[in-house]
């Protein structure tokens, strides 16, 4: 034997050696190795330090249940903390490092915690660090935080890509061991769409780890043939490296495919991982079982390993995890390890079987190989520092012996892997005969459980189960299960070994010992959930896969209850930890949400626009020109251009809803608080919409284009909500009405053309197609202009003579360019905002869902002649309270002062306390026309207080500013400019 690698066998490719490093030391493994198997092959036993006591730890398992062998995998921005060495497929150049140790894995200063362990018991921190109070954040907590945690996050943006994908199938088989392969074969042969997913890169499960026989073939060969057959079936999808990690409502399963984790970096354009949402009519859970450790002193020493894992390393990876082994078993299972160690030529120092009656063939095996057998004996302690040197045992007679060995294989029985069966609330059931919890009857809809996961541990049963359930899921007759070789699995539970030396770990990763469980019981934390929360049992990265049952059984014994009564904690998704990046998929950075661009976006960009986010839209905020020093200068120029000449603003983001039908006018009457049924064809009207609770939902203009045809504008922010609301009104409240609605926001490009020259410009533009001068204020028209259908509205948000011109979206960019060519100055949302504040029009900051129509000075719009949504509840005392803050304008007393939104009103001289606050500033802008800042606000009794001086209190920014309260319409209150 060279190193610990066995000379032959195993599912590794000895022709493909792969170099890797651990803590900077170079090593070599083979294709087919995991990091754990490759390290064990190289004789590396110490791979990690534990969470609290920094105890030296080695590999315990060969799967995703591993509590100990966590490493930092890769480096730099790709560093992945807490990666289980047992699941990492090695690749050439792999770099891994141990974690949670300083200065090195071999010499870790943190191990001093172990000496303090009498103090650092479960929940010790709840009992101290309280004095002096100020020390917690400054002294105690930083120390605890630094010591806690395991690996280090990369701290840099993840450079890799992630994908999301959907899959649909008739049968999803979870787990590719014997039961899963059988289920997939049965389902796949029937022609059903079948997905077989397994977290491993090699299908076969324990068939690869054991020396089992099926149909007179080696189990691993049978598995390979099954996989080959499945691959040949047209409707079967094989998904290796894919962990089904969650079960959700509606037969939805979440799975993570590790697409490129077995490569140094993902190939170009390939994701690192892919999140699958699998829709499965039926599923077969064949997740197998997990071998549980035994709780004895020093059971965490590197070299103490699950007996089943030992078999996996021997048989699948051709690695002997030790040179001189002892086997500690509570059932027949450990004897499989004995046989496999013999087969591999590993010396066996002793077999310690906790049972007194040892089966004859086991005794014979021991005798034939001259192995010392201790029946009715237990391991009571281990020796060694960072590696196992010997175990202490107590034999049947009570005598103590020390047996030198560097490997202790522990077979404590099997826990069915029930996690996925409980995600929708199912409770596992205790089965005393197998000393384990199995899935209860309340399974997720469509799920059946096969094989070891259902508590049927024997290979023959696993295959029969798989064939039966795979066939049942497809309504076919199950194939006959092939003959299997002997595979006895029995275990007598042994929850705790009395009279042992040293710490007995229950939860390895979190350093929870049997004494911690006892302390929890003593302090009243007796429910399994209290136990978990008090001791952190089962809260480590393995979610207690190996720890929970032992801990719960100890608690059951301490409290005199049965295990069934004690129960178990709920398993929560994900089944194994899943990278947050994978759950997010491609939705990060600029692709976090869709970006909506208006039809004329390209032209605005050409014009140098600075864009701003408006929900998912990007809107031109302002159009800086060379020589302008800041945004304010650009915005001021744009405002002046509109007020003095003509400007154009892209308002395509406003929601537009087509409303048609004989009852369209009734719908509008119901939706808006003011009357619309009286609106003449060819005219538009401003409308305010309330929620049923009486507060303002949205505002906008709606035009009547025909007797039964209206087109509604909504605010950009509320477009979707208003659409949904109108659909509710017509479909749910008034299904008898004949009216249809359709969102047309994206179908039209719309521009405000505003300013004294707007009419002339539009006439130039449209020529003979339309007589612009003939369109009255609040007029609306639809006509053809060349190839385009045009809608023209005479509406004004700016207070100037203004039009909104809409064309089908495909003409939008050309139209805006043309209008600018005719001399209009493009203006953005900032200038739009300045001009609406100058005119006292409300917008987002005032329409904040907390204001009534009356608050906004729009109370008189609420019709008394008709029903409308919100009418009744708008009459509640709280909504009619005269003290409610209402819309006012404000000017700084010192005209040089800037105003900002968000300050609160106080009377000058009043103490700055909330009782004296009388409202707040909603929107502010610099008015180029007035030459100073102006603002809108909501002030208690506001409309009756014009002329008063108030203080705007803004301690977060500018401090206090005296303002003069005024009418919210700063400019042209008579509206004469509308007709200029």
């Amino acid at each position: 034997m060279s190193g610990y690698r066995l000379p032959g066998g195993g599912a590794i490719d000895r022709t493909r050696p792969l170099g890797f490093s651990f803590d900077g030391r170079p090593f070599q493994g083979y294709a087919g190795d995991t990091l754990a198997s490759a390290l064990l092959a190289e004789g590396v036993g110490l791979v990690a330090r534990s969470f609290k006591y920094h105890r030296p730890r080695g590999v315990v398992t060969a799967g995703s249940e591993e509590p100990n062998a966590l490493v930092e995998l890769r480096t730099g921005a790709r560093r992945e903390p807490n990666t289980k060495a047992t699941t990492v497929e090695i690749y050439d150049g792999l770099k891994a490092a141990s974690q949670n140790r300083w200065p090195s894995l071999g010499f870790d200063v943190g191990a001093v915690n172990s000496l303090l362990s009498p103090v650092f018991v479960a929940g010790f921190y709840y009992k101290t660090f309280m004095w002096p109070a100020a020390f917690w954040e400054k002294v105690y907590e930083p120390a605890i935080r630094k010591a806690a945690g395991l690996g280090r996050g990369a701290g840099l943006p993840d450079p890799d890509l992630y994908e999301k994908a959907n899959a649909f199938c008739d049968v999803l088989v979870i787990g590719g061991g014997p039961a899963g392969l059988a289920a997939a074969l049965a389902a796949g042969r029937s022609g059903a769409r079948t997905i077989l997913a397994d977290e491993d890169f090699l299908f076969g499960g324990r068939l690869n780890a054991e020396r089992l026989e099926i149909a007179e073939k080696a189990g691993a060969d049978w598995a390979a043939e099954a996989v080959a057959e499945l691959a040949s079936l047209p409707h079967v999808t094989l998904m290796p490296r894919t962990t089904v990690f969650g079960v959700y409502d509606g037969e939805t399963y979440a799975a993570l495919e590790r697409v490129a984790d077995h490569l140094a970096v993902p190939p170009p354009h390939q994701p690192r991982q892919r999140l699958w949402r699998i829709q499965a009519r039926q599923s077969v859970l064949a997740a197998g079982a997990i071998e549980r450790p035994l709780v004895f002193g020093g059971n965490d020493r590197p070299g103490v390993m699950s007996a089943a894992a030992v078999r996996a390393y021997l048989n699948r990876f051709a690695v002997a995890p030790g040179r001189r082994a002892a086997v500690f078993t509570t059932g027949d299972d450990g004897w499989k390890t004995v046989a496999d160690l013999i087969e591999a030529g590993v010396e066996i120092a002793a077999v310690i079987d906790a049972r007194t009656g040892i089966a004859h063939d086991h005794e014979a095996l021991a005798a034939a190989h001259d192995i010392r057998l201790f029946a009715g004996a237990v391991v009571t302690g281990t020796r060694g520092g960072r590696a196992l040197h010997a175990v202490q045992i107590r034999d049947a007679g009570g005598g103590t012996r020390t047996i030198a060995c560097d490997l202790l294989a522990v077979a404590g029985g099997w826990n069915p892997n029930v996690a996925l069966s409980t995600h929708l609330g199912g409770k596992p059931e205790w089965r005393a005969d197998i000393a384990g919890f199995v899935p209860g009857p309340a399974l997720p809809p469509g799920m059946a459980v096969a094989g070891a996961c259902a508590g049927r541990m024997n290979l023959g049963d696993c295959l029969a189960d798989g064939f039966r359930l795979g066939a049942a899921a497809t309504g076919t007759t199950p194939p006959e299960a092939p003959e299997t070789g002997p595979d006895a699995t029995t275990a007598t539970p042994l929850w705790r070994i009395a009279g042992t030396r040293g710490k007995c770990f229950v939860d390895f990763q979190h350093d929870v010992t049997d004494r911690d469980v006892a302390l929890a019981a003593r302090e009243g934390f007796r429910s399994v959930e209290h136990l978990k929360r008090y001791t952190t049992l089962g809260m480590a990265t393995d979610q207690g896969k190996t720890a929970n049952l032992n801990g719960h059984a100890l608690m059951a014994a301490l409290t005199g209850r049965g295990i069934a009564e004690t129960g178990t904690t709920r398993f929560r998704p994900p089944y194994v930890p899943v990278a947050i990046g994978a759950l997010a998929g491609p939705h990060r950075g600029p692709d976090f949400k869709p970006t909506r661009l208006t039809a004329a976006h390209g032209f605005s960009a050409e014009m140098g626009a600075v864009f701003t986010e408006a929900g998912q839209w990007l809107r031109p905020q302002y159009y800086p020109r060379p020589g302008e020093s800041d945004w304010l200068e650009s915005v001021t120029r744009e405002v002046k251009a509109v007020r003095g000449d003509v400007g154009i603003c892209d308002v395509s983001t406003l929601g537009r809803i087509e409303i048609q039908g004989p009852d369209a006018r009734h719908l509008l009457d119901l939706a808006y608080c003011n009357m619309f049924s009286t609106l003449a064809v060819g005219r538009a009207r401003y409308g305010v919409m309330l929620r049923e609770d009486g507060f303002v939902m949205d505002d906008g203009t709606t035009a009547r284009l025909g007797p039964e045809h209206f087109v509604m504008s909504t605010t950009t922010a509320n477009a979707a909500r208003v659409m949904q609301h109108l659909d509710f009104l017509r479909q749910v409240l008034r299904p008898e009405w004949d009216v249809q609605c359709a969102s047309a926001t994206e179908h039209w490009a719309m521009f405000a053309v505003a300013g004294p020259r707007s009419r002339a410009l539009l006439q130039d533009l449209l020529g003979d197609a339309f007589d612009v001068a003939g369109l009255p204020h609040m007029g609306a028209a639809e006509f053809r202009w060349g190839r385009a259908r045009v809608r023209l509205f005479r509406l004004s948000f700016s207070g100037e003579r203004a039009y909104e011109i809409a064309v089908p979206a495909r003409f939008g960019q050309a139209l805006m360019r043309r209008i600018c060519d005719l001399g209009a100055t493009p203006y953005g949302t900032e200038a739009l905002g300045v001009m609406r504040i100058e005119k006292g029009h409300v917008s987002g900051p005032e329409l904040n869902g907390q204001t009534t129509a009356a608050d906004l000075g729009l109370g008189r719009m609420m019709s008394k002649k008709k029903d409308f949504i919100g009418r009744v509840l708008a009459g509640r005392p709280g909504l009619c309270d005269p003290a409610r803050p209402a819309l006012v304008g404000l000017k700084p007393v010192d005209r040089g002062r800037r105003l900002r939104g968000g300050g609160h009103f106080l009377r000058p001289g009043a103490a700055p306390v909330i009782a004296n606050a009388e409202g707040h500033v909603t929107s502010a802008a610099y008015s180029p026309g007035l030459g100073h800042w102006i603002a809108l606000g909501l002030l208690a009794h506001g409309p009756s207080r014009h002329g008063e001086t108030m203080l705007v209190h803004d301690p977060l920014r500018d401090g206090d500013t005296l303002v003069e309260i005024c009418d919210p319409v700063f400019l042209d209150p008579e509206g004469s400019r509308l007709h200029a």
Binding site: Y126, M130, A579, L956
Partner: protein
């Protein structure tokens, strides 16, 4: 035994055999002065303040499962008082002040950690809205600072400042905000209440109310009838179900909110950060796990679990905000059942039925409110008058129109 470094050291020498149950697991008596339904944070805090501040010790706390099994044990542990509306802010600030002295008061380290919360803003309008809120906080005497982009960057440099769909423009910071160890809060209140004679009765589910005319004079439970002249509900998540036993309908819907914790990693995130352009907030526990969450699932639910779309939405928010967490793994997700009230704010009030008191509607903000809620509820029960800081949290505010709608979403619980 009093908890201190000395008792801990003494116990270390004696194998920790001297510790006694943190609270007495009581058997219910037939009668009390006050029955509190619900052994979560709010119920136990109410019991503590009744017994230790208001002098009412004949109190039972009835818990249908194990104490802290509801939302007290399934939240994201954030404490803060950064509210906008006067009816809320003063109340949450009272709660914050109680947090600040809680551990010494209870003799239990609840790991109250004031490492700050920063709410990020991504637009000018959002900045002004946050300024309005921050100024309101200052008017309440609460600390608040408005940070610009550079100040945020100095504090949390790992955010996506350069490549974001919704660029971070600044944040509203409350330095006194932070986190606490949720379970320890429950246990600490239980211990302090139990010491003063409060009976904490676990595995005791209320199945009905005993009535005398309109008045509620007792409860039927799975462990027998128990009578008291004052019965106080603190069962958020299940308020409607318990109220229905008394024939009451509440302005509340039950919704599921998922929460998430990552594997433990060495310290990365200093305080609490909330994303302003998506549903995501995060802090890092003392153990090292990133504790994070987002929006409620949106549908009525009494199942303590949610669905995949929200899991993905939260992860997307997280990656959009801080792409350094891409390779950190989600360890566990779970769901809590929220009493989503119709205006997004809670209720501490008498019910329409004499003798029945109501503490409900905490939405997803109940954890931070535990001390204040317990104190004000105890005040209401003991004195028959609302505590001044909770005077706005009335049940009749919905009918009268004096709503406390922080977000302006109206009577739609799943939008708050």
């Amino acid at each position: 035994m009093r908890r201190s470094i000395f008792s801990l050291a003494l116990n270390a020498l004696t194998g920790h055999r001297l510790w006694r149950p943190t609270w007495r697991d009581a058997v219910p008596k037939p009668e009390y002065d006050v029955i509190i339904i619900g052994g979560g944070g709010h119920g136990l805090a109410t019991a503590h303040y009744l017994a230790n501040v208001f002098g009412i010790q004949r109190v039972a706390v009835l818990e249908k499962s194990w104490i802290g099994s509801g939302n007290a044990g399934r939240n994201t542990t954030i404490i803060r008082s950064n509210y906008l509306l006067p009816g809320n802010n003063a109340f949450y600030e009272l709660s914050m002040k109680l947090w600040e002295g809680l551990e010494q008061e209870l003799n239990y380290n609840a790991m109250v950690s004031q490492r700050g919360i920063v709410n990020l803003y991504h637009s000018d309008a959002q900045r002004d809205a946050y300024a309005r809120r921050g100024n309101s906080m200052r008017l309440h005497g609460v600390d608040a600072e408005l940070l610009d982009r550079d100040q945020v960057r100095a504090m949390v440099p790992f955010l996506d400042f350069d490549n974001a769909r919704f660029p971070v423009k600044g944040g509203l910071l409350q330095r006194r905000a932070g986190t606490a160890r949720h379970d320890a809060v429950v246990w600490g209140y239980a211990a302090a209440a139990s010491r003063r004679g409060v009976d904490i009765v676990q595995n005791c589910e209320v199945t009905g109310f005993i009535r005398n005319g309109d008045a509620v004079v007792g409860v039927e439970t799975t462990r027998g009838s128990i009578r008291a002249p004052k019965i106080a509900m603190a069962v958020a998540g299940n308020s409607s179900r318990v109220a229905a036993l008394a024939g009451l309908r509440l302005p509340i819907e039950s919704h599921v909110l998922q929460a998430f914790v990552s594997e433990a990693v060495k310290p990365l995130i200093p305080g609490v950060v909330t994303f302003g352009a998506g549903h995501f907030y995060v802090s890092q526990s003392d153990k090292g796990g990133l504790v994070f969450g987002g929006d409620i699932d949106g549908y009525n639910s009494y199942a303590q679990r949610g669905n995949l779309p929200v899991v993905e939405d939260v992860a997307e928010g997280g990656m959009a905000l801080m792409p350094m967490i891409g390779r950190i793994r989600l360890l566990r997700s779970w769901g809590g059942i929220m009493d989503m009230s119709m205006d997004g704010s809670p209720i501490i009030d008498r019910s329409p039925l004499p003798g029945l008191y109501l503490n409900a509607g905490w939405c997803y903000g109940g954890f931070k409110a535990i001390p204040g809620s317990g104190f004000c509820f105890a005040h209401l029960i003991a004195k028959g008058e609302p505590h001044p800081t909770a005077a706005a949290l009335r049940l009749d505010r919905f009918e009268r129109g004096y709503l406390l709608d922080e977000k302006g979403q109206g009577a739609q619980p799943n939008l708050h």
